[in-house]
Amino acid sequence: MSSESFLFQAFIYLAAAVVAVPIAKRLGLGSVLGYLLAGIAIGPFGLRLVGAEGQDVMHFAEFGVVMMLFVVGLELEPALLWRLRAPILGLGGLQVLLTVLAVAGVALALGMSWQVALAIGMILAPSSTAIVLQSLAEKGVLKTEGGQSSFAVLLFQDIAVIPMLAFFPLLATAPHAAEGDAGHAAEATTLVGGMPGWAQTLAVLGAVAAVILAGRFLVRPALRAVAAARLRELFTAAALLLVIGIALLMTAVGLSPALGTFLAGVVLANSEYRHELESDIDPFKGLLLGLFFIAVGASVDFALILAQPLLIAGLVLAIIALKFAVLFGLSRVFKLSLDQGLLFAFALPQVGEFAFVLCSFANQQGVLDTAITSPIVAAVAISMALTPLLLIINERLVQPRFGTRQGQPRADDAIDEQSPVIIAGFGSFGSTVGRMLRANGVSATVLDIDSDRVDLLRRMGLKVYYGDASRYDLLETAGAGEARVLVLALDSPEKTLELVHTARTHFPHLTIIARSFDWPDTHALYAAGVSHVYREDIDTAVRSGVDVMRLLGAHGYTTRRAAQAFLRHEEAALRELTGPSGDKAGYISMARERIEALERQMRADRESPDLERDAGWDADSLREEVRSMPAPAT
């Protein structure tokens, strides 16, 4: 492909996404359906802007699924994964087993051989990780019980695909079709394909161990070194390198790359770079997934559908009904509440993208012929396209009957460790705020740009993450959407102002608590609309003044009142006095201007009525009144 035609292709895909997705979202259909419709629109049966290369694009874009599982892994700490072991093995295992058996049973009843029936069962059992996770995340239900169960099943399916690939050749009844171009999943293409069984097993275990050990001991120091360079794109490059490297390793030993990166994500979920990695990978993941959905849309074979509309429609309905029945039954067995069980069953009844791979693999291995796989591929694509619609039906028509509040976070928040407070900057100021909050049971998510400090603090058990807090996306991943208070304790006034503007633009609900340094930047923060500004040395300076007064013999409470009055006066004067003309939000740094500010300050001290104290305890006026009256007769 020449670079020109590549750019043209990119233009078509991006334009389709940019046009279709906002419309779909506006209509409440979700982005996945938007991408799918965009794909249909530009595909061979729409505007014919893309053609046969759709399949290649899909293979390329499947890497988005790999990235998605990395991000999912990052959000899933090992302890949580361990807690999910029962749903993964139990729910996931039974879903695959029962679906395979049910589909195979139907196929047998239709008179197919048991080998063909079993192959079809295995093709239809997995669901679409990409579509389901994206849709559930978009609806905000990924962390609900139904969402977690869906995730567990998808994870098991990803694992189950590997033995399926190994099992397929054993089902071959016809001689092998053309050997060779077996797609990215075929075993023959892996490095270990030619080895004996025990060596393959060893290689697989070694690769998994390598990912875990590297994630624990190698990746963090490496990322720290990269972070120390303080080049943002370098960190992005490192994050991509990590994901691609793991994907290559996994493919080399014949494991699912998605599974490998998921594992790496879990290992790194406890690391300080979690939010940074997440926000770096996220745009790539999103774009590739979008591309993948478009490719799925473009690959829907309308010619075939129009040739046998009843067969395809019946096939789609039968697949969805059967998978739905198995899922819903399992949700009852595993005691999900009815609404969560329905969410689970409505989320997973489609057939996943892996069916495309398995179908072509089955053709090559001579397990199935294209007369069987072609209608299946069409039905699979349609079932994927129907998923967002099924979820909408569930959300709009089914769930309201249960009075459930989908999309709201559940009370069980062990999974969702969102803090109400984000502290940006963990120097002496930020850390004192953080420690004070922590001592009182308030958890805070901390962002800091100094990788050495982050490392030290994490070794002491604090939830500290590396990253430049003035970045919108990092704030987002740190939970700024759900947090209530943002504490700005950065070392630089310029950065602080920048962050104020970012936060006020994207997260207007956040209350900002800002540390400032001197009069000019305090004033700039007020001018930027921050109402809680704390000059870093004002309290300690006033407290020193109090102690000086006490050492000189002043009464404790009198000095305390004097200090309070002075602080009040200070704040009032700051809010009142405007900066030099034209200076609204700018930061004054010139020495001469600082001296002018000091002069204004001292003039305000002299003229201020704020500093007159406590008339309530002063009986002067009362005494005068009493004395002006005649003494009462006794």
């Binding site: 404790g556 409470y557 009198t558 009142r561 406590d614 305890w617 009986a619 005494r623 009493v626």
Partner: protein, 206 residues
């Protein structure tokens, strides 16, 4: 002879403006067994050290609450002190016996004259009426609440009168310290001032 250990819990929020109490508190006799404890000086943030306060109470027999009379009550910090220090299970309640048998004395200045604090005066209640909450507090803690010692009509006092009050205050503390005021006889009286006057009348002032 056994000296009475006395704790003066003193509360004046604006001592630099005080005409009476600043003079009084400086005139406290330097006797072993008299402790002056300035609450507003010690706890400018109202952050009262409960353990320390309880220890002080335990090591004294006569507790004197000395303060100006603000809005028919004590200055705010004494209320804070009561709320925090007089804990259930320590000062009151089935297990709260720490203060049993101690005595509590209010030593109060009022701007208005004595006859304003009568049923027919403009304050409409007597000082004993108005001090009922403190008296009941003492009762619940098993302490004997003595008749209050009152310095009244301070708004009209001139320098000479203030000087005289300071002298009487010194004598009161000395006599209490020496156990020479007949507290049994004073029980039920409107104020401790009468008992002091009687003693001073009998004796040559120091």
């Amino acid at each position: 002879m056994l000296m009475t250990k006395m704790l003066i819990l003193f509360a004046h929020p604006a001592l630099d403006k005080s005409r009476i109490h600043r003079r009084l508190i400086r005139a406290v006799p330097e006797l072993s067994g008299i402790t002056v404890h300035d609450l507003y000086d010690t706890y400018p943030d109202f952050d009262i050290d409960v353990a320390r306060e309880q220890e002080l109470l335990l090591s004294h027999d006569l507790i004197i609450l000395q303060h100006p009379f603000y809005w028919y009550s004590t200055p705010a910090i004494i209320k804070q002190w009561e709320d925090l220090v007089l804990e259930h299970g320590w000062a009151y309640g089935a297990q709260g016996t720490a203060l049993r048998g101690k005595r509590l004395l209010s030593l109060i200045s009022t701007g208005g004259p004595a006859d304003a604090y009568r049923r027919d005066g403009y304050n409409r209640f007597t000082m004993r009426d108005l001090l009922a909450p403190i008296e009941q507090t003492a009762y619940l803690c098993g302490m004997e609440y003595l008749p209050p010692y009152l310095i009244q009509g301070t708004h009209r006092m001139d320098e000479a009168e203030i000087e005289r009050e300071v002298g009487r205050y010194r004598q009161l503390l000395s006599l209490l310290h020496a156990g020479r005021i007949d507290l049994e006889a004073a029980r039920g009286q409107a104020s401790l001032n009468l008992a002091l006057d009687k003693l001073i009348g009998q004796e040559v002032p120091e």
